[in-house]
């Protein structure tokens, strides 16, 4: 059974059909790319998958479970985590606290235990700190744990966002233009990170990207969107040779 199965997904904003009859099947462990020109509806697909928008039509199955129309927080509990095109960190919180906020759902103690510092507080906080530092060291961010998130350089902010998403222990990780604004060196480093995350965490990843070097370098399968519709879908090498894709997106 596929990990993610999206059938006939559509959404209209007024008269505009931003995403039309979108289909997608992602198997466990795949690294899948979603590409297309600006305004094609890629981020809208992410917003539909994570419950920011409710689809007008269609269903989303995660691990065989219907999650269509669920709330964002609920969908995260069910196993989808994401990063954002324009980085959305908790800027006034430390790097460590950003990841600990991501651990919110899996390391619990009650508000009362927190206020009165009951044993559960110390026990869980200790585990949270250990786990958060572990995640930070994976992304080489452990030395900056006490920094405010907004003080990190751009590339590290992107990494922190991925670390925070992974802290929620998702089954599927959505990356929205992870290489945006990065120079070739940083992009190369990011590709290694993504490969590493996939191997280390056994993660299934769906990513939106414009950088064709990154896409052709790491994605196994691709879906190309244009004006909300699927233009092509399949193995990366085949899709990138597709005539329609070349005219609409890549250019001759």
């Amino acid at each position: 059974m596929a990990l993610l199965d999206v059938k006939n997904l559509s959404i209209s904003f007024g008269g505009l059909r931003a995403v039309d009859s979108f289909q997608l099947t992602i198997e466990q462990g795949e690294l899948y790319g979603l590409i297309g020109p600006n305004g094609a509806g890629k981020t809208t697909v992410f917003n539909l998958l994570t419950g920011v928008y409710k689809p007008t039509e269609g269903i989303i199955l995660l691990d065989g479970k219907n999650i269509t129309g669920h709330k964002t927080a609920q969908i995260n509990h069910e196993g989808i985590a994401r990063t954002f095109q324009n980085i959305r960190l908790f800027k006034e919180m430390s790097v460590l606290d950003n990841v600990k906020a991501g651990l919110h759902q899996h390391y619990k103690y009650s508000t009362v235990a927190g206020i009165f510092r009951l044993p559960g507080y110390y026990r869980t906080e200790k585990k949270m700190n250990a786990r958060a530092m572990e995640l930070l060291s994976v992304f080489d961010l452990d030395k900056e744990a006490d920094y405010l998130a907004s003080n990190l350089p751009y590339g590290k902010q992107r990494k922190l966002e991925i670390a925070r998403a992974l802290a929620t222990e998702p089954k599927l990780l959505l990356l929205d233009e992870p290489a945006a604004g990065m120079n070739p060196n940083e992009t190369q480093e990011l590709m290694d990170t993504i490969r590493f995350v996939r191997k280390e965490f056994g993660m299934t990843i769906l990513l939106i990207e414009h950088d064709m070097r990154l896409v052709s370098g790491i994605c196994e399968k691709l879906t190309v969107l244009n004006f909300g519709r699927i233009l092509a879908q399949g193995e990366t090498s085949a899709v990138l040779k597709d005539k329609e894709v070349i005219t609409a997106y890549l250019g001759e």
């Binding site: 927080a73 509990h77 959305r88 960190l89 800027k91 919180m93 991501g102 920094y147 802290a167």
Partner: protein, 370 residues
């Protein structure tokens, strides 16, 4: 051992110690008769305002929502606790116990109002939330002004018109008398109890902030969409923070009610000007900075009273101070002077240079710049 403690734990401990020191110093001065009547009479009020600063700081600084109706929660707490005290006054209940339950009553009733107001209001954002809370504060104040409540052998009577329409027996006594409010509440609030409540509120809020719940609340403040995306229930935590904030304001109200012989819901005491003043405490002390808020509340309450002799020159002094503050903060010469002579630098110089600029220092520096 001090160094081993977490940075936040240390910072909080300093705050608590400052409070305890302030209490001890003031008590000794008061015992020795070194305090003027003016200051002596203000001690409990200072506690009330400091508690309000802590309460509002939770809503504004930690939750990141602007509330302009916090005096309303204080008003609810004041009236409900004074009412409880009045109703149980001649039942032979132990006075100390009665006061304790009265404070709890103020807290609980204010918290209930916090939930009731919070459910619809926290769906709004930004300016709308401020407008609705502003209206709430005014409505509560005006409701208290038209509320009549009396007790006789048949039980409790309530009216919104006047004392006559309560229709009480001959033995009835009026407890809430409309615009005249509640009179003759025993003055049970002492400086000690005020400081105790302030300390407890601070501990509750600071512990809350540095816990899983506090992280969730601050995550919502910093980025709501991202907070949702990591599975944080936004409505739940917003409502929780708002309710705790209202409950603390209720405690401040209960303290206030037991420090005044006639509790009236006038604009000067519970109007939006007071709400704005609490906001000024919070902003001046540094948004989200609990210790700063308490200090600002004390300074801004004491200074106008102490400087009353200069009343007619007040605006002149105010303008001069404002200009000096701007010069001190922004002229290049003053800035270089400050950098050369900053306490932080002097301390760092003494500690030696081997302590390289750590992440901690970088983080705090950045915070100061903002």
């Amino acid at each position: 051992m001090w160094k081993k403690l977490n940075k936040n734990t240390r910072k909080n401990a300093v705050t608590y110690l400052m409070l305890i020191a302030a209490y001890l110093i003031m008590s000794v001065l008061q015992k020795g008769g070194h305090l003027s009547n003016l200051i002596s009479g203000m001690l409990v009020l200072l506690c009330v305002y400091a508690i309000m600063a802590v309460s509002l700081n939770l809503t504004v600084g930690v939750l990141g929502e602007l509330s302009l109706g916090h005096a309303g929660f204080m008003c609810v707490g004041a009236f409900s606790s004074a009412l409880f005290t009045q109703l149980t006054m001649n039942t032979g209940m132990n006075a100390g116990l009665r006061f304790f339950i009265a404070i709890l009553t103020g807290i609980v009733v204010a918290a209930v109002f916090g939930i009731l107001i919070g459910i619809p209001v926290l769906r709004l954002r930004g300016d709308y939330l401020a407008i609705v809370t502003l209206a709430f504060g005014e409505i509560i104040k005006n409701l208290c002004n038209v509320l009549f409540l009396g007790k006789d052998s048949n039980g409790i009577h309530v009216s919104m018109k006047d004392t006559m329409s309560l229709g009480m027996e001959a033995d009835g006594i009026v407890i809430i008398n409309g615009p005249q409010g509640i009179t003759r509440t025993p003055k049970q609030a002492t400086f000690f109890i005020g400081m105790l409540i302030l300390l407890i509120s601070l501990i509750i809020v600071l512990n809350l902030v540095h816990s899983r719940t506090g992280r969730a609340i601050m995550a919502i403040r910093d980025n709501r969409i991202a907070a949702e995306s990591v599975g944080i229930n936004v409505t739940k935590y917003k409502l929780l923070a708002f309710t705790v904030s209202a409950a603390i304001a209720g405690a401040a109200g209960a303290l206030y009610a037991h420090n005044t012989s006639s509790l009236m819901a006038t604009s000067a005491k519970f109007g939006y000007n007071m709400s704005i003043m609490f906001l000024v405490f919070v902003v001046l002390g540094g948004i989200g900075n609990m210790r700063g808020g308490v200090i600002a509340a004390v300074l801004l309450t004491v200074l106008p009273e102490v400087l009353r002799f200069a009343d007619d020159k007040r605006m002149l002094i105010y303008a001069v101070v404002l200009i000096l503050a701007m010069l001190w903060n922004w002229t290049p010469a003053a800035r270089t002077f400050r950098e050369k002579h900053s306490i932080r630098r002097m301390l760092a110089g003494r500690a030696g240079r081997q302590q390289k600029e750590s992440g901690e220092a970088a983080a705090t520096n950045k915070k100061e710049e903002m």
